[in-house]
């Protein structure tokens, strides 16, 4: 009996420590991370998996999406992305519609991103020096994808600080903002079919229905 108690106590202590590190330790560590370091860590992490994973090499899209879901997407603020793409129409949507919009838009961006990732997986990324002031809560992290042939592609990530972590809310490729680019398309869908019409169109696209 007496031999078990220290073991049980050690186990309990370990469990408490584990939970504490999950609750406090990891976010606390991340809070110190600069936005450019975060972008680099996530990008290199995802690229390393994409380059080495045999299933992804074989073109397994489900596996690519799984990697994106677990490694990349937690660093994005899809609600903010969707609200920016919606513009003034965002306020006309109910909270429930807003949630569905963010979910469907997220799905669309994941599909797009996994395609792009697969195409450029063998390229290297050049991370530009970050220019930010202490206390900034919005920054742009500039990178360039250096291609074996062809001009480098500038990819800028817009990040916002919320609750001590940086979240990406826009990706600007060669000067083209992914979020801004959807404004007219979203506006057109809402004009013809309302917010529900837009939700339906996004859902259809995610189910593989071709765009007009």
């Amino acid at each position: 009996m007496e031999a078990i108690q220290p073991a049980a106590r050690r186990l309990a202590a370990f469990a408490v420590l584990a939970v504490m590190s999950l609750m406090l330790g990891v976010p606390a560590a991340r809070a110190q991370e600069a936005p450019d370091a975060m972008v680099k860590r996530v990008a290199e992490d995802v690229l390393a998996i994409v380059r080495s994973d045999p299933a992804i090499q074989a073109g397994n899209e489900a596996r690519i999406r799984e990697v994106l879901e677990t490694r990349l997407l937690p660093n994005f603020d899809f609600v903010r992305m969707t609200s920016l793409a919606m513009g003034k129409n965002w306020r006309t949507a109910t909270p429930e519609q807003q949630k569905r919009l963010a979910d469907e838009f997220r799905g669309l961006l994941v599909r797009t991103y996994s395609g792009a990732l697969n195409r450029y997986r063998n390229e290297t990324i050049d991370y530009k020096p970050l220019r930010m002031n202490a206390g900034d809560t919005e920054v742009t992290v500039r990178t360039a994808v250096l291609r074996a042939s062809g001009a480098p592609v500038q990819i800028d990530y817009s990040l916002v600080k919320s609750a001590d972590t940086w979240k990406c809310y826009d990706v600007v490729i060669g000067g083209v903002s992914l979020v801004t680019n959807y404004r007219d398309e979203f506006g057109e869908q809402i004009k013809s079919g309302g917010v529900d019409g837009l939700i339906k169109t996004l859902a259809d696209r995610n189910k593989g229905v071709a765009a007009k």
Binding site: L108, T112, G115
Partner: protein, 236 residues
């Protein structure tokens, strides 16, 4: 090349089409000619899907990558010279030195532009053109245009394209088969650069016409401001 013949009378065609379609449009600030442009896009897209894309895919499948890279480099070298001309017209003397250095290096040591040594030593491409020069000179972008066989443009960029065609140099080659081969190869090479982008549009767009229009206009704005565009005005 059809594109080139078309360019000889684009303003007349566009003016006529603009007048014809003017009343039916739901007016938009950047795209008042949207009905005409959408018709042009549908036509362009149908021909692209049926003929151009398969031909370009065959080119990619058959021709080795290093040969295709040299074809791109050759045409890019000409564009770098055009970029230098536009640096001069815009008074950007530092970029002028950069672009001229590229052209000299790549023409001399890169065997007539077949190899892009300049990029390998870190001299990046200048990317200036006549459309951007007209913008720097203060000309308005004017209505957005979708031109069959050429793709997205605007009145200002269309004028730039006409200036570019007038400067040549391919248009001044007197040997017709050589000239037409270069036109054809240039067109295939240009389209091959957009195969990946086209697939991305297919996945990402809700309405491909709008997606391409907005991407084009954002991209042009970015280039006009040399990669540092001021924030866009908020919507009303």
């Amino acid at each position: 090349m059809i594109a080139h013949t078309l360019s000889r009378f684009p303003s007349a065609v566009m003016l006529a089409a603009a007048l014809l379609s003017g009343c039916a449009a739901t007016p938009s600030r950047v795209d008042p000619l949207e009905p005409m442009n959408r018709a042009s896009y549908r036509f362009h897209d149908a021909v692209d899907t049926a003929v151009v894309k398969p031909a370009v895919q065959a080119y990619i499948d058959v021709v080795p990558e290093n040969v295709r890279a040299s074809v791109s480099n050759f045409f890019n070298n000409i564009d770098d010279l055009i970029s230098a001309v536009n640096d001069l017209l815009q008074g950007k003397l530092d970029k002028l030195g950069n672009d001229l250095g590229r052209v000299m290096l790549n023409t001399g040591f890169g065997i007539g532009g077949l190899f892009d040594l300049a990029s390998q030593v870190g001299i990046e491409r200048g990317n200036e053109d006549f459309g951007q020069t007209f913008a720097v000179w203060g000309f308005d972008q004017g209505p957005y245009l979708f031109v069959p066989f050429l793709g997205p443009s605007s009145f200002r960029d269309g004028a730039g394209w006409i200036a570019r065609s007038a400067v040549g140099p391919v248009g001044y080659i007197s040997d017709v088969p050589v000239r037409n081969t270069l036109y054809g190869l240039g067109a295939v090479d240009a389209r091959a650069q957009f195969v990946g982008a086209g697939e991305m549009v297919d996945t990402a767009a809700l309405d491909r016409y709008l997606f391409i229009r907005n991407a084009y206009l954002q991209r042009r704005r970015y280039l006009v401001y040399d990669g540092k565009p001021p924030p866009e005005p908020e919507e009303p």
